[in-house]
């Protein structure tokens, strides 16, 4: 446990987590192409265990297309310091994702809301995702902003490590983020600094561990059906 995390056990292993389960480790070597066009390990049975791969973030090239250039330019123009607050710009499937440095997310959100050429009045959603094994800063927090004035959507994404899972809270800009940040804290253990009351919301108050992290097991018991034993879902054969 890191010393400056107060009373919150941030990096402690969740109770019941079994390290060494196949799903928890990424493949040791990058995926290769084999005979007959086989990709990865070539295991199609699933008995070799589930391997999770995630391609690296690919920066989009200017022009981004659609309204994306306008949003990026307006953001940088409104606050020239934002050019270095933006780590990556990703355009994929007609959606714009701005990867923001965690410490700067509050300023960026304020500008996104208040700048007349941006006007993202509604923070639609705040949620998390855990990229265990594929990203040093494995815990990502994703903000979906909607501009009702211009009918635009933008996704902001910040990444923090499990050892230092600290992100400034955006509740002072978007009060609707209150419960959603509590849920992200509850499920991923990300600490939102400046949140008015960061407590668990869906899980019981005395729960240990953060259930949506990838190293937290699903749980479950085997079930007998017509004489055969069916393993719990996370122990069943699975395909990569």
């Amino acid at each position: 446990m890191s010393s400056d995390s107060g009373n919150v056990p941030v990096s402690a292993n969740p109770v019941g987590a079994q390290t060494g389960a196949p799903a928890e480790f990424p493949p040791a070597s990058p995926a290769q192409r084999g005979l007959f066009g086989v990709q990865g390990t070539g295991d199609t049975s699933g008995f070799g265990g589930l391997t999770r791969r995630r391609p690296a973030i690919v920066d989009a090239q200017r022009p981004y297309g659609d309204y994306f250039d306008d949003v990026y330019d307006a953001l940088v123009e409104a606050h020239p310091g934002f050019a270095d607050a933006i780590e990556h710009v990703v355009v994929d499937r007609g959606e714009l994702t701005l990867h923001i440095r965690p410490q700067r997310i509050l300023e960026v959100c304020r500008t996104m809301r208040d700048d007349p050429s941006l006007r993202f009045e509604l923070c639609s959603s705040v949620s998390g995702a855990d990229y265990l094994g594929t990203d040093e800063r494995r815990l990502h927090i994703v903000y979906q902003l909607t501009s009702m004035t211009y009918r635009r959507k933008v996704r902001l994404e910040v990444a923090v490590s499990a050892e230092q899972p600290r992100v400034p809270s955006v509740t002072s800009v978007y009060p609707t983020a209150d419960w959603q940040e509590r849920e992200a804290y509850d499920m991923f253990g990300v600490i939102f600094e400046g949140h008015p009351g960061l407590t668990r919301i869906l899980m019981p108050d005395d729960w240990e561990g953060y259930p949506q992290r990838k190293d937290y097991p699903l749980g479950g018991v085997p079930v007998e059906y017509k004489g055969a034993e069916i393993p719990p879902p996370d122990k069943r054969r699975s395909y990569q």
Binding site: L50, L122, M148, P175, P233, Q240
Partner: protein
């Protein structure tokens, strides 16, 4: 101290705690004088007939005035989002349909749209599949609003409205049953299209329903709109204006009752909504009365959309043509319920080894979805329903998050309740139309 077995009291370090399950406040409280005494804390729920499921409210009262309200949720948390990560993409439909159990078609459609966007097959969805989706969504919107009308009526003392609302909803559930085999949690809308075509009986039933409901709507209005108690309980109650809604993220009928015509079907259309003719009803009162009027008007607009969808229902496939994604079998209802059709079983077991392999691979392993993330938002009966789906390129979702309107809207309870009367907390909470299955997931 009272000896009433239904109302006991005990001393704690926090003061005296009463457990009330019925009876009269005067007798329960005995010598206490709560009106002129200091604050009392009332715990409402999570098991209470007026809180729409397992919602718990902790209210601090001065007399009958609420000075502090806190909503406590999580009693129906079932870990659906975590479970999704251990099933393949198609199986996800059967999970997400169980979130907001009054609007299952919306959960399924949002999920299907997200998976299709990840697959990049939005353009391949057949016109008939899109029309059926719109048709089913609007029927579902009507049934959800009917339940809202029924439960809110009951909570404000109009018990007969409860009976009527649920009676008419049965009609729609019958239509769902004819189409999918199930009344709720149908998993009817699947990635790539819908599970199966609409049978002729369902179409007949929808036509009957279109002729039947307008008369009933008139009855509801005769019952409630002019009624003085209904007006007193709803007008000027639980007011939340547009800035309040936007800062708290409240969308749907509550936002529209404040006067902002924000409806994703119009503003960010999906499933071909831009080709349908309908209005977005709004009110300007921003109170429970306005939300009542908006929802009634929305039922009428939904009927218009259902009629248009019925008119343009052309024969055709209801699943994408891509055999690597589409479910390999046609489904049929047999003696023991819904299953793969007999012709399909005969083909894979007796004629085509390749079909059998194909079936086996698609059903047990599932299709692969290219890596990436998307966010899809649709207009559910309660507001913006968003799906954030992440794929790592595998056969199972890497992460699926639902932006549930019930979850987000419930944050508005303190803003609506504080400073108002205890009885108005019920009216205000009901006007948000929270469904705890969706809220807690």
């Amino acid at each position: 101290m009272s000896t009433d077995s239904y109302a006991s009291a005990r001393e704690t370090t926090e003061g005296r705690v009463f457990t009330v399950t019925g009876g009269d406040w005067r007798e329960t409280l005995g010598g206490e004088d709560p009106i002129h005494d200091e604050r009392i804390v009332v715990n409402l729920g999570p098991q209470h007939p007026s809180t729409h499921g397992v919602l718990r409210l902790v209210l601090e009262l001065e007399g009958e005035t609420v000075v502090d309200a806190r909503a406590v949720i999580g009693y129906l948390h079932t870990g659906i989002e975590k479970n999704l990560e251990f099933r393949n993409w198609v199986q996800g439909s059967t999970f997400v349909t169980r979130m907001d159990y009054l609007a299952p078609i919306f959960n399924e459609t949002a999920y299907a749209l997200a998976v299709e966007k990840l697959l990049g097959i939005e353009d391949q969805i057949t016109p008939r599949a899109n029309t059926i989706r719109v048709l089913m969504m609007e029927l579902n919107r009507i049934s959800s609003h009917l339940v809202w009308l029924a439960t809110t009526g009951m909570e404000l003392g109009a018990i007969s409205m409860m009976l009527y609302g649920f009676r008419e909803r049965e009609y729609i559930l019958d239509i769902f049953e004819l189409a999918s085999g199930l009344r709720m949690n149908m998993a009817y809308v699947r990635p790539g299209g819908v599970a199966q075509d609409l049978p002729a009986e369902a179409i007949k039933k929808i036509h009957e329903f279109l002729a039947y409901l307008p008369k009933k709507l008139k009855e509801y209005e005769d019952l409630l709109t002019g009624q003085i108690i209904w007006q007193e309980r709803t007008k000027g109650v639980a007011v939340l204006d547009v800035p309040g809604c936007l800062s708290l993220g409240v969308t749907g009928p509550v936002l529209r009752s404040a006067g902002l015509p924000w409806d994703l079907r119009k503003t960010m259309p999906y499933c071909g909504y831009e080709t349908y003719e309908f209005d977005v009803p709004t009110a300007t009162t921003a109170d429970v009365w306005g939300r009542y009027q908006v929802r009634l008007a929305e039922i009428r607009e939904s009927l218009k959309i259902v009629q248009q969808a019925m008119d343009r229902l052309e024969p055709g496939p209801v699943m994408v043509q891509d055999r690597k994604i589409a479910w390999p079998a046609q489904l049929a209802i047999g003696m023991d319920g819904m299953g793969n059709s007999l012709e399909h079983v005969a083909k894979i077991m007796g004629q085509s080894m390749e079909s059998l392999i194909h079936h086996f691979k698609l059903v047990t392993e599932g299709f692969r979805v290219p890596p990436g993330q998307v966010y899809v938002q649709i207009e559910s009966p309660r507001g913006e329903l968003g799906v954030h789906a992440v794929s790592d390129g595998g056969t199972r979702p890497y992460r699926v998050h639902y932006r549930e309107p019930s979850f987000v809207n419930l944050q508005a309870i303190p803003a609506m309740a504080e400073g108002a009367l205890l009885a108005d907390v019920i009216a205000g909470g009901a006007s948000l139309d929270p469904v705890m299955g969706g809220c807690d997931r």
